[in-house]
Point group: C2
Chain length 424, copies 2
Amino acid sequence: MSINTAPPRGMRDFSPAEMSLRTYVTGVILDIYRKFGFVQIETAALDSLEFLNSGQGGDNEKMLFKVLKRGEKLELDKPNRSENDLVDLALRFDLTVPLTRFYANQREKLPLPFKVIQMGNVWRAERPQKGRFRQFVQCDIDVIGQKEIFAEIELILASTQALQALSFDNFTVKINDRRILEGLAKYFGFEEKKESFFITFDKLDKIAVEGVEKELLENGFESGQVGKFTAFLKDFSNKTVAEQLDFLMNLEVESKVVEDLKTVIKTIDQASQGKFSVEFDITLVRGMGYYTGQIFEIKMPEYGSSVAGGGRYDKMVGRWLKKEDVPACGFSIGFERIIQILEEKKFEIPQKMEKIALFFDSKEGFMQAVNQAQQWRLEGKIVNLEQKQKNFTRQLDRLAEHGFESFAIFDLAKPLEIKPLKKA
Amino acid sequence: MSINTAPPRGMRDFSPAEMSLRTYVTGVILDIYRKFGFVQIETAALDSLEFLNSGQGGDNEKMLFKVLKRGEKLELDKPNRSENDLVDLALRFDLTVPLTRFYANQREKLPLPFKVIQMGNVWRAERPQKGRFRQFVQCDIDVIGQKEIFAEIELILASTQALQALSFDNFTVKINDRRILEGLAKYFGFEEKKESFFITFDKLDKIAVEGVEKELLENGFESGQVGKFTAFLKDFSNKTVAEQLDFLMNLEVESKVVEDLKTVIKTIDQASQGKFSVEFDITLVRGMGYYTGQIFEIKMPEYGSSVAGGGRYDKMVGRWLKKEDVPACGFSIGFERIIQILEEKKFEIPQKMEKIALFFDSKEGFMQAVNQAQQWRLEGKIVNLEQKQKNFTRQLDRLAEHGFESFAIFDLAKPLEIKPLKKA
């Protein structure tokens, strides 16, 4: 019987080629975020169930990898053990819930506003499918303690700049505000069942106006109101942005909400220098229930789903501090989505360091070649010191395959000559 | 009741200051390893119990964080459930066991020899104590597929160079060979209970010759043999290295083993350029049972325990391939130990990027200041864009505390002036 040495279901190992892309993307994103004054933190991968099951994670809480209690604490013999009697910890399913715990724990030592980067693995016991994994990297920036839209603007600027640094352009930042959605629900008489309305409205992209109409009717919304709403939807998409924003004045929404939306769009548009676009999108809902203000998403025309998303969540951080509100706003780049797109595009990592293979023939040759290799490494080169194999052509081919561009054979009797290494 | 927002027992969250040291150290080590031609991989954090419980991890296998089965697979109602009926995965306790699985799975696509870097978290449910954590980073390089001591030499060169790049010098590389220890056991008649002998001998550092003598006698070793052995130990430490190596010829050890040991010591000594020392240490045992050839450790005089260790393990990788031997050799830098020492030394990270705080007064000022900030960021500066607060002195103090060196106030009416920011 052969042994299955694949990683567990839905998990991945990363090969050297995959890792170098992931490392490159990580480096580019971190560099941009740092230039915006964001600082990186890391929380423990395991957290207590008390936090992870606190109701802030929505459906993600159903997908926890839970960790068995250890030693005496695991009382297996006791009768009627329920699942939660057996476990005490779980792997984090996102980086936002641990961030709120971290902030509550360390806030006195942190700068205010706290502009924070998190990049790390999260785990979800989802049904694996193409592009969906049980362990994946999230890449978040958050601003805690800034109630004004300066936070939103810096988050959008930093995220769009990171995408540009990764060779993306021509994308669209879509912006909306949860309070506008609330106003919309009220305006069309959907307020009493607004959560259900939002869930259906969020599907507009996939099921079109007709699908939304059908689902609202199925869910018991009144047909006259549904008709008014779908007529509005069809009409609204034909309006200019100025007309759209004017319409918002009809909704029972504080004028500051609309003003702020205009300011964000104007500032981002100006900073974009025409390299990407920014637009108000009243149909943007975003899944998580915790958003309280502006919400945003970045879409690329050539790739269906969004590549980044975020928004303001002022009611979440205060929870562990027994405070009503702590202003907070975050933006998350879909790291795995970006990697997938770059791999599909056959993106070539800008090579910074020269890669040389230095061959030696004998043990004596090796001892001498070590010095040559060390010298080249000090000059910033990558040097692979290898014993010359019998099938030298095959050895060279393999090195070329792994990105080596030149080679030299160390021979005490001859001067060292660096030759180019061609890809087979 | 106040909520405990600390991370779980034995786990840590890392603050921005802690993270920047960890990121810096990671970067320095990776840079050196890459220059030696090592390539990075990553395995899944969770692995199946089949691999983690395969007997290669020694006592670490008793410290697994095991993950509860999910959904229908968790048959809680069935009677007499044992612990292992309830779990299917666990968090990895080291990076070597997952590496052997990875290599078996992907070997056909990998370069040969495979020179691999792994840096990542591992988890052990140990009793937490000072400097010992339940989640910690391991930092390993391994060479798979090289049976000659070129592997050993490159591993030691890369590791010592990484330590030097982190400002360490004056350390000692200690080298021994498991086959010499076997020879020693045979020579003094301890062969039948050699595992027990090695465990006691490994404690020499802590319990001295007298302690070793006492423990051997307690464990039933014959007193005449024990006496001969301890006399040898006392005498041996007074010999010169040349005399010590000569003694090895008395042991039933292949001469290649001793020759190889001499070659490694000579090559490393020459490459060290007197910045660190390398020595044969017959008392070096190293805990793990899987070593088959040379073993090594790096010690610093000012810090008791070793900061790096490794060795050859030719019998481990072949296991999943149904092969007898696959040559393999590894070296691991004690990442958490290095961090701890650097923190104790109050090591200052070389600052690469200028950090400026740019203040604005109003929303209009902000929109203009965004452009200035963007320009400075393009020049490679870190720019924190902040609204001027009422208590400006306190705001400046806080920024100085977090490493900002200069500030400027954006005012459309005045030319921009960059002022130094002094640490309070």
